[in-house]
Subunit: 359 residues, 3 copies
């Protein structure tokens, strides 16, 4: 597919600086773009890369455009270059359209399951007894929809994702490949020298617009449900343990792990590999730096870093301070020597003083 | 389903304080329970929550019951409220009974595999050549039982769990969804600028009563087996590398990772995200705090925390001490000034002394 | 199977010290070997274990052989005991030969997919529209080959590994069970209080001779591809986020996580649970200690440890220094007291001096 820069400018309502008739056939990142590619400038930091780019066209704000020296690329001035770029990417690389396979005869669908219209169940997917699946869902190959699972409209369950029996999904939920929702929580009683499983008869409730990454796991609650709040996004390999109540619009990067019965407010963000101890309560609008180890409750609005995690400012101060430790500890040695010398000097002085007094 | 409190009291041998005829229809956590729910009081810490609870009935010890002020809920006095609660949960929410599907015609079972009586193989599960599966096992949809795998009686293999060829499971083993047992260990020789795979011809032996979490991985040994000892429980996303020998009744929380050839004794516990370096030997009754980074052998009975991990007391002291570093380092600056001042003062004094002596 | 030590010696070109006619029937690790087993001595550190070994034969270098005291085992002197051992292991425990199932009628292969000769597609595997698979590949049960995926010759895709649409694999690539390649990157725009998915229309390119562990995840790029360079090995549960460009012959141990847009050179090694922040650039021949938290670019040739990660020497010095903190902080208290005493003493002395001067 090819579009002239003029065509593209019309689509994103851009003002053009430079050659208009050039043909564009794909999108590309700034430093990898060639003469037939369109790219975008995200921030002033990237201004220096424009020189190295062979891009045919660059989406850019007016302010940044004025700071680009004479260049080969045609500039398309827009209010939000990233948004415009995504719009154009959608033209050159449209989203895949899944063939509507309906309910594949090679899927394994229990006769008591209820599947609403427009939903596709792919080969080797399994839908258990009494499961209910809403409209226009995509149940991809090998996805397992356990007994009594309820899935809302417009959900996508990627290959081999496993929903244990009784799990409930809202609308527009996306579960990526090999994620596991609703396995039994890691709860045991220690009886007579053995771990005895505590039965887990709660479930998992996943609210509207949640997306869960590949190989992530969300365990079922013991009595009540484990809840993932509306709009929350979990990256690959994230672990949410039994009885957690995750608020709305949280975003947890890869390999984050929450132990049992953690509660979070809304708009909580966690960098990769963050760990939160069990029964911790986290407010809203909280951020955790990567690898933070959270062992205390965190009030709303805080940014915590470190192991154990504390307020960002304190943690940064701590890290910077501790970097100086080798020099400081050396300084202390010197101080000790100076003090010892002073003591000796003073002792001599006192003596001579006494002597002179005695003289 | 409904039961009167009188009925419930009989089932768990409880002494009743309060209304006996009230009907109960479900279990619930203390703070979420309503008038037709029964809940339990786990410890004195929860006494203050009783007020906020609308529970119809509360299982509680005699000691704690005496400390609860006048309340709406009927109290059921028992020796162990948690045990009694689980008993009652089993009544209101019985464990799912899997339909006995036998060997599904939609499963893929090699004709040379031997399946004992009472075992169900669900659709899309695969059982390889010469595999042996004991009695009353549940092989759920998509589970992969590799060639020559041996599985004891009463095991549950959840959807899409993968047992590589030759893996051996004892009795009553539970493998959760998408766990992978017996992949090749991460062992390579570096030859002529490339990593060359070291063949792994050992296996994995999983002893009786082990439970392995969703998306956990246990790699096969190179020569001998990787062993998971009897009664050990691994949470989701745990990694056990090649040649590890895990003792009996260990419990590792989510995202724990053991590098190759680690040996543990019995009753070892690890919090989430603990990492253990290769070839480390850990005694029995050892505990690791969450996120600990273990790079030395650990004797029996120890509790280790921190990165690198050390004895709990030292680690707590270290953390508390280091928190003071900014103030202490400030204090050192002041000390240095004081010492400098002292030196100057003393120099003056010596001089004046010499002068006065000379006078 | 049985071989005499004489036979074995011939196969690995070994010089024999001791009994030649003894029959050997298996390989074993040094400390677990019995009278009919052959084992090997890896280094001088293991010399003291020879006594405890009941091995029938030991592969060993001449140098180490001279340091072994009189023993029951026959010694086979070779240049490289480990290489010789692997050669013999291959005799007693040959690699599994997969039955050539061809394209199983129980696999789900789209009619537009192109499968080259010698490739086997096992039952319940799915191959999407327009996928191309090279020669002599093994697509094991339940593996998902998405639409438009391209796979080179001699690849192995283990059970339930999922290749999302459009992913590209070179030759001799091994993908272990339940790994997920090509899921959408964790990229959202925050618009009007909600996370809005950023479409990811890039792909994943996996070059020749890469091996990817069980339950590892490699996300697709947003515009360009995420790349795993030739010969690189990823262990189980590793996460490579969108837009990363991993160089050649890297080796990342289990549970390593790279955030988005990380670039690495060649021969980079990371211990378990290392985390790298987004947009970091790492040179070639870089090593990271286990659990390192990398938040700065790292030049070629460096070894980094710690959280945040720094040069190994500095980090070791830092750790050793900080261990002394409790004592040092105690010392500072003493120093302060000494300084206070000196000040008091000096004040007295000054006074008496003034007095004596006044006298």
């Amino acid at each position: 597919m090819q579009l002239s820069i003029r065509d593209i400018a019309q689509r994103v309502d851009a003002q053009v600086r430079g050659e208009c008739e050039r043909q564009i056939d794909d999108v590309a990142p700034l430093t990898e773009a060639g003469a037939t590619h369109i790219t975008f400038l995200e921030s002033a930091k990237e201004l220096k890369k424009v020189d190295q780019s062979a891009a045919g066209a660059i989406l850019v704000t007016e302010e940044l455009a004025d700071r680009i020296p004479e260049c080969e690329a045609t500039l398309l001035i827009v209010g939000n270059p990233f948004t415009a770029f995504i719009q154009i990417m959608d033209v050159f690389r449209p989203a895949r359209t899944q063939t509507a396979v309906g309910i594949s005869p090679e899927a394994h669908v229990d006769p008591t399951a209820r599947i609403a219209s427009g939903t596709c169940i792919h080969p080797t997917a399994c839908v258990g007894a009494r499961a209910q699946i809403g409209e226009n869902c995509l149940i991809l190959p090998g996805a397992i929809i356990g007994e009594d699972v309820v899935i809302g409209n417009n959900c996508v369950i990627h290959p081999h994702a496993v929903l244990y029996p009784g799990v409930q999904l809202g609308e527009r939920v996306i579960i990526h490949a090999n994620a596991v929702i609703g396995a039994d929580g890691f709860g045991y009683r220690f009886v007579a020298g053995k771990f005895e499983r505590i039965p887990h008869r709660g479930t998992v409730i996943i609210e509207n617009d949640v997306e869960i990454g590949a190989c992530a796991t969300v365990d079922r609650g013991m009595i009540g449900p484990t809840v993932i709040g509306q709009g929350t996004k979990l990256d690959n390999l994230v672990m949410i343990a039994h009885n957690c109540r995750i608020g709305r619009h949280n975003a947890f990067a890869s390999q984050v792990g929450l132990a049992g019965s953690v509660t979070t407010g809304d708009y909580v963000r966690a960098g990769g590999q963050v760990g939160v101890a069990d029964h911790i309560t986290i407010g809203s609008q909280v951020s955790f730096g990567g690898k933070a180890g959270v062992i205390t409750d965190v009030p709303s609005g805080e940014t915590f870093h470190g192991i154990p995690a504390g307020p960002e400012k304190e943690e940064i101060r701590r890290v910077l301070t501790l970097r100086k430790a080798p020099q400081v500890f050396e300084q202390i040695k010197q101080l000790q020597k100076q003090v010892n010398a002073l003591q000796a000097q003073l002792a001599t002085l006192s003596n001579s003083d006494s002597e002179s007094a005695a003289a």
